[in-house]
Amino acid sequence: MLNTINSPTTNPGRNIEMWPYPAGATESEATTAITSDNAQLTEEYLQHQYAERVLSDDVYADRDGSGIDPAHAEDALRQAAEAVEQASAEVSNAYGTVPVAEQFYTPEQNRAASSHAQIYAPRIEDMRDHHLSLAESFN
């Protein structure tokens, strides 16, 4: 959770339209997938917003230059963690709990399957060629 809070890569502006969903999905499947995308992105966004607010106000302020008080920082992080949990609960209530991970295949899985698809056609063509050349040689 702290990794999420401290992650500088959180990008609430990510375009959900670009997220893949199965090309053959029905409209309702696609809608479910996009909804679950929305849920995840919204969750990330809320986490980001809460984390930004808590951390910037309480931890990184250090306005007087005396350094960050470790106890203060710890307290701020605890508040951030609670905020994230609250955000997650809000998102779950709003969208239901669609298991996002089950809706999508990772790019790696898609790449592996695609490379698998390249195996068979050349083998079949070789068998055809061989069959035809054998038949030719018998004539």
């Binding site: 090309a23 695609s114 068979y120």
Partner: protein
């Protein structure tokens, strides 16, 4: 594209018979004959074909697979068909359907497609060409 359409039309309709040689049946198969035999196997890989439907699934060449489905529309009583072309590229499998945007096949659909290709290869290797799909070598009688 025209080449693909012509190849496909010939395969599905049986094509136009070559001029001449009408009296003599050629004893050996052409590439088209082989593909049509394969297609009969391919059409059965996805389970029972509904009554009144005709389904073809075959490997057209080194980069292209085709799914063709034909049936009678119950309301209009007209014959309708769809052709889906799967182009295998280095960066993915592109799905091409008339009137639809080109899309890369992903997820479960891609898994199913690759599985169908695998089964197709196994079946045609064994049953048409007499090859052991595991070794890629000709099967010997009695082995």
């Amino acid at each position: 594209m025209r080449t693909f359409a012509r190849k496909l039309a010939d395969l599905i309709t049986g094509g136009t018979a070559p001029a001449g040689n009408q009296k003599q049946r050629r004893p050996r198969f052409t590439r088209r004959d082989l593909i049509r035999m394969e297609s009969r196997i391919g059409g059965q890989l996805f389970g029972p074909v509904p009554k009144g439907h005709r389904r073809e699934f075959f490997c057209l060449d080194r980069d292209t697979w085709v799914w063709y489905e034909e049936w009678i529309d119950p309301t209009t009583r007209k014959r309708v068909s769809t052709t889906t072309r799967y182009e295998v590229h280095d960066n993915g499998v592109l799905k091409v359907q008339q009137g639809q945007p080109y899309t890369f096949v992903e997820g479960q659909e891609l898994t199913n497609l690759v599985w169908a290709m695998h089964l197709y290869y196994e079946e045609v290797a064994r049953n048409i060409y007499g090859y052991d799909p595991a070794t890629g070598k000709p099967m010997t009688v009695g082995a």
